[in-house]
Amino acid sequence: MNTHGELATYNFAYLDEQTKRMIRRAILKAIAIPGYQVPFASREMPMPYGWGTGGVQVTAAVIGPDDTLKVIDQGADDTTNAVSIRAFFQKVTNVAVTTSTRQATIIQTRHRIPEEQLGENQILVYQVPIPEPLRFLEPRETETRKMHALEEYGLMHVKLYEDIARNGHIATTYAYPVKVEGRYVMDPSPTPKFDNPKMHMSQALQLFGAGREKRIYAIPPYTEVVSLDFEDHPFEVQTFKDPCALCAATGVYLDEVILDDKGSRMFVCSDTDHCENRRNEGHHGHLSGQALEAQQ
């Protein structure tokens, strides 16, 4: 009865070579046309659509035995889906993995860009749920494709301006649209707009994979990435009142953590590697001492 004894043998990096070639060709075109979404025949992956299948396919097409991989979700290496994707690549590639931003050659991410500036030998792979920045203004692919073709982005500006008229400011806080190299309006994936400036003139190559929506796009290194705004309402990023409670970092993105049922809360670095490094370097936030006491 059992003819499926070899069911569990998979190629290096899971994907078959033909699929890798297809994805690799799409990546090359994506790099040549910064910000343009290249359609690709996304495959079913062994994790659900919407859980990083696009990022996983891009990483799988790019990764080689000499790479060192870091996977983060919400800026953290230890969130369950990051752990799961990292374990997947360990299993199917056996490459070195790390939590250190500095040591990684490929960083796959969901929702954050690391705080530490990335270097020329690094590739940042984003998991993208909805690659089309115009999708919530126009649900039809046939229409949005025309808009990109004609560079017709008036609708996006109208939407942002309506925000200003209603609220006095732009009410988009994440997945904040950018314009790449003066041509394509692009969705930076649901990163907080805090991270948008890091995309501009990045030393690292940035690749974006949307598995369910079957799109790959890219920003080459040293490429102009401008967040959309208006002269009288310039783009600005979120700021936090207090520094990180653990490492005292300022100018970084913080997560709000609720400490008890009375609603007391603290703010800590969302980038766990950055926070750990700072603490190892001797920086202490106002709650880090207490955390140490609690452990003793």
Binding site: R21, P221, T223
Partner: protein
């Protein structure tokens, strides 16, 4: 490096297809992402002349039965060369540049007009030809200045053997953005990527 003449269409492909293809792709990707940088890899294939190993390796890494490739008429009539490509990659060979996903040009001085290749459409600019252009060298020719995405400020390259009107052709190609072709300059030294975004001037 010198290359052994390969007489069999069945020989001279990747020895370790999975890892060799990854190595080659990664260098092609780096070249495309950082125009002006010369990227290199070992001689992983031995295609029949006049193809050089770098060209053969790029073909082996990226071509398959879903792709089409245009060859110069002089090469398209060589069974050893077409046989090697089709046996090792399963690619289709097409007669018209505008039908081609890839083109291999071995006589760089006689590079056809870039406009004669697939440019993609305004809606699908990715459906355009990537041209693999074999040049005499990557660093012995007149200096060219590159600017654009992937380049910090300016990059300088000195390939030799390019046609006279190369800069003008590239400039016209850039004017068509987002449509346009992408080029890979290859020699035995490695490769330089020239995506359609790159601005080239004589320097």
């Amino acid at each position: 490096m010198l290359q052994a003449e390969n007489t069999s269409v069945y020989l001279g492909g990747f020895v370790q297809p999975v890892f060799d293809a990854q190595t080659v792709f990664r260098q092609v990707m780096n070249a495309m992402a950082r125009p002006g940088t010369i990227t290199r890899f070992d001689a992983l294939t031995t295609p029949p002349a006049p193809l050089i190993s770098v060209t053969g390796s790029i073909a082996a890494a990226l071509f398959d039965h879903d792709t089409s490739v245009w060859l110069e008429p002089a090469q398209a009539s060589q069974p050893a060369l077409t046989g090697w490509l089709t046996f090792n990659t399963s690619t289709k060979i097409v007669a018209q540049g505008f039908d081609a996903d890839f083109a291999i040009v071995t006589d760089a001085g006689a590079l056809p007009s870039l406009e004669s290749f697939a440019q993609g459409t305004q809606e699908f600019p990715d459906r355009s030809t990537t041209i693999i252009l074999q040049v005499e060298s990557l660093d012995q020719g007149p200096r060219l200045v590159l600017e654009g995405p992937g380049i910090k400020e300016k990059a300088f390259i000195s390939p030799s053997g390019l046609p006279d009107q190369f800069c003008e052709q590239c400039s016209a190609n850039r004017q068509r953005f987002p449509r346009g072709v992408d080029l890979l300059l290859v020699s035995t030294q490695g490769l330089i990527g020239l995506p359609r975004t790159v601005k080239i001037s004589r320097g």
